[in-house]
Subunit: 334 residues, 2 copies
């Protein structure tokens, strides 16, 4: 079996570590692995299976002899270093938003649009975490019934903001429980025992950048600009796992049992839908798992062909690291 030289950029971050772990767990055929980060992280040693790998400084020449470079170190790092990686002959799989909406850069969720991956010119974009999980059930619905309009509200975990987000929730929680207070620094407001209806910065139209990412990326991945969509993205005090309340108006009638069966048949989706026994997805249960979990399917009482459901996934896995590794797997499995 052919083996590949892989580089992980942003290897010391929450998603970077998850990428390295995922490559190992999924037995990606790794010939060699480079863990790249900023100068500050040099000296650190990180595990890859049973090996300990020295973190190297990310420089322009880091990608000589690299086949696949998985980037998760922020948009400005991708902007600067992806071109060097491409010039060195590496294929970049970029987890930042920088290239996602660029024409000619495929935006890929392997269960949904694997064919798009092969049209790359050196860079393939990994979607935003809240988008990646949502497009799996949406793909099922769009293929079978046609999607007219989507209204989604999210419940996103702090790990979407990296390890600093996790630390802030943990420290603020401890402080609150002992009657103390730690002011916010990562988030715009206190996150412990609170809910913040802002992720990323605001645009002129009143939506946040996160909301516009969901809307635009969903249309690009499903390859249909005619889909109507609106989103409200909200940070909640959960460590790992994004949840989404999804309202979809379909173009044709459906039976709930058919929808559940179609979802069960979809690769990467697990149906958890037994309300009588309080079975439905929760972020706590999704943490550390690969699948997108869906449940609470019901006919929307307010509109014809309306479907309500609930969608949860580990934002570090399907929302980031897993999807990136799956894109690499798609390319090598030709």
């Amino acid at each position: 079996m052919k083996k590949y030289k892989v580089a992980v950029v942003g290897a010391t971050g929450v998603v970077g570590k998850e990428i390295t772990d995922t490559l190992y767990q999924r037995k990606f055929p790794v010939d060699s692995i480079k863990l790249l980060a900023s100068k500050n992280s040099v000296g650190q040693c990180l595990p890859f299976g049973n090996d300990e790998i020295d973190v190297e400084e990310l420089v322009e020449t880091s990608f000589n002899d690299v086949d696949y470079a998985l980037f998760s170190a922020g948009g400005s790092i991708s902007e600067k270093f992806c071109p060097f990686a491409v010039k060195s002959g590496a294929v970049c799989i970029d987890n930042t938003s920088h290239f996602r909406m660029v024409d000619g850069v495929p935006l890929v969720v392997p269960e949904v649009n694997p064919e798009s991956a092969f049209s790359h010119k050196g860079i393939i974009a990994n979607p935003n975490c809240s988008t990646a999980q949502l497009v799996l059930p949406l793909k099922v619905l769009h293929d079978h019934y046609g999607i007219e309009r989507i209204v989604v509200s999210t419940y996103q975990s702090v790990s979407g903001a990296g390890k600093e987000g996790i630390t802030e929730l943990e420290q603020q929680s401890r402080a609150n429980l002992s009657g103390q207070d730690i002011p916010p620094s990562v988030f715009q407001h206190h996150i412990a025992y609170n809910v913040i209806p802002q992720i990323d910065v605001f645009q002129d139209n009143g939506y946040t950048k996160e909301e516009m990412k969901m809307i635009n990326e969903t249309k690009k991945i499903l390859n249909d600009d005619s889909i109507k969509m609106t989103a409200t993205t909200v940070r909640v005090p959960v460590f790992v796992g994004h949840s989404e309340s999804v309202n979809v108006q379909l173009k044709s009638a459906f039976k709930l049992d058919d929808v559940r069966q179609l979802m069960s048949d979809m690769s990467g989706v697990t149906v958890q839908d037994d309300p009588a026994n309080s079975v439905y997805p929760t972020p706590r249960d999704s943490a550390g798992k690969d699948d997108v979990f869906v449940g609470r399917f019901r006919h929307d009482l307010s509109i014809e062909n309306g479907l309500e459901f609930w969608c949860v996934s580990d934002n570090l896995r399907k929302g980031a690291a897993l999807n990136a590794v799956q894109i690499a797997e798609t390319l090598i499995n030709v």
Copy 2:
């Protein structure tokens, strides 16, 4: 000024205590106050302003000489004891769901439908917490533009499940932060650092009772069964304050500045809407306050005359105690 004999039923509960405090804080003209609870609570002493009041056992004859009885001790208690209170000549203001949808029982939010209060036959119902806050901004929109359809997703605090809910979140949080685990008892699943898409029990149509309460009560309070509405109600690890992501399709065009102005003019509503400075409502900021806070107003990109906004209020206040006391105030201010 005339003074009134008041009874609080369920006086040792979270909402009961909030009712007693609210009566005092708002200078309700109290001649005497009875704090009623189950036999188990007899012996307790609770504050009413600077006075200490002995908790009395709730019995059939508790309401002799009572003018207003504010019930918040669960539906079965209201079912059993409201009739005795009415027979004794008291007016019951009931915070449980038991009588809310009964024909002839007014369901009242004083800023929205105060006139309904006067048609009572001894019992006036206080709406569900998540409904009470929502109908204020909806009333504004319905009066000025007409509401076609509402899609709402909620982020509801644990205090909606009483003091046991608060204790469970606190204890599970402490346990989690020290690597321990306390299994759920109040909620269906772990609530610390988790999100649970179930409040109350499931109905045959796949909606929960909480979701159907929101839908049915909203139509009753706005006195318009033609409003189309769907809801997903979700418990989040917040102590106090319910948040709601609200998508409304209006019947006519609107300008955002007009909507903000109309909301500002509405009694009981405060607009917090300056995204550039991260100003929008959060439950933490709403706790202990009376108003319904609204913000994040924007044109829905997916539909004509669509409006997105975010609505937050202290569920123990406007969602329960405050609204109940305001109903009594409405009646005595004739």
